[in-house]
Symmetry: C2
Subunit: 234 residues, 2 copies
DNA sequence: CTCGCGAATTAGCTGTAGCTAATCACCGTT
DNA sequence: AACGGTGATTAGCTACAGCTAATTCGCGAG
């Protein structure tokens, strides 16, 4: 097909981008990403990972030190963030403009992020007046790939009685996402941790007035920003 | 990568779709499309065309009779029309919603038509209240691939003094398209053929009150619908 | 210090879709 | 009827990105 130029600004292939994004995401929990983790996340075989990492390393996008997995270089991280930006702008568009379901737009954005031109992306961004967050509450990196960093904590980590506001929903499974949406756990929702029984792994959370009782697994991926006591009660 | 299943509804690859669309368009001037014409239009080599036609024939999308070029089967024509529908809906979106330039959206639509899901396409269509034409005046096939056929004629074929309304702008070159836009030759524009000097290949056309003098080449691709004399003067 | 296990890598294939170079086929002249 | 030229096809390669099977590496246990 067409020749994908070397160093120049010619947009990576679908696969390359997916690897970079996965490296970016997985690096959050562990900076050195093992090939096996990449293979699992991308649903490809281990040899495929080895191969692709070799290519990406040759292009200066990832660094590999023997025995210590792979990590993004500055250039690689930049590429990843550009893709994250595209993804989130697209998700915002799909939900806010096209009215598609919040919990269901990931796949479409995943495909389109690799194919939409900068011109179209900018137009989408403009149409929405440059949103700062996607529909799941994730901040959108700016045009240069800079990301506002926020101090959020898992909902399950709130002490009994604490109030907070849901800020981000992190998950790749639309079924769980749909369930959260159902129970009101959406960005902006105000919550209060009513009861924590860590031994039984049971959490009782007040979500905008409705009572949610669930195990910690059912809260995994919901990030909140604690609210001061005495702030305006809803 | 992923396995592109056989007969089932799994959307053709980028290349396959491009061949089908080219066959569809080229068949308008000559039903049997010679491989060389395909090669020229798609900017690929002759052997590549032979190869791809073999594959498409094996899938029942094109028919090849020795010595007589290729033509779409009913199935192939349907696929082509579905792509045409996607393309035109996308162009309409890019212009009407995103405000991109009329003469400049072809390339983006060309890429996106292969990657947008039906769900998103339908949402775009809905957002625009199911447009019947794209920004160049081309009718949009319906969901089943049926296309309203219209009787239009080339602007250059109008006799001296005839009045008409521009309906379609057919061209793949954005420079020419931009030039037409500049001179007012856009779908809906009312024109009158003031003078034809066929020998010198000079045409003088009144476009919404402005005088345009050009050779026939400068009008090629502008299709009009003649207006009755005595219809309401502008 | 060696063994074995699991993770990583190498070897070698598959499929898509492009390419060039070489060959073949048909058609109109002479 | 033979010849040449245009255009189509075959042969054989390249690149990407995946795969399985086989091999190697590194590290902890004995």
């Amino acid at each position: 097909m067409v020749k994908p130029r070397s160093r120049t600004k010619v947009a990576l292939s679908r696969s390359r981008g997916d690897y970079l994004k996965a490296l970016y995401v997985l690096a959050e929990t562990e900076p050195d990403v093992a090939p096996s983790r990449l293979a699992a996340r991308l649903a490809v075989s281990a040899p495929s990972v080895t191969n692709m990492l070799r290519r990406l390393a040759a292009e200066g996008l990832v660094a590999r030190s023997r025995g210590a997995g792979a990590r993004l270089t500055a250039a690689g991280r930049h590429e990843a963030l550009i893709l994250v930006r595209r993804h989130r702008i697209l998700e915002a568009f799909l939900v806010r403009v096209l009215g598609l379901d919040w919990s269901d737009v990931h796949e479409d954005a995943e495909v389109l992020e690799h194919h939409v031109s900068d011109r179209v992306l900018d137009a989408l961004d403009r149409l929405m007046a440059h949103p700062s967050e996607d529909p799941h509450g994730h901040p959108i990196p700016d045009r240069r790939g800079r990301l506002a960093r926020r101090a959020l904590r898992p909902l399950a980590s709130l002490p009994r009685g604490a109030r907070a506001t849901v800020r981000e929903i992190r998950d790749r499974d639309r079924r769980r996402m749909a369930a959260w949406k159902q129970s009101g756990l959406v960005p902006g929702a105000r919550v209060r941790m009513c009861d924590v029984r860590a031994l039984d792994d049971v959490y009782e959370v007040d979500v905008e007035g409705r009572r949610l009782v669930t195990g910690s697994e059912g809260l995994d991926g919901v990030l909140v920003e604690p609210r001061r006591e005495g702030a305006h009660e809803r």
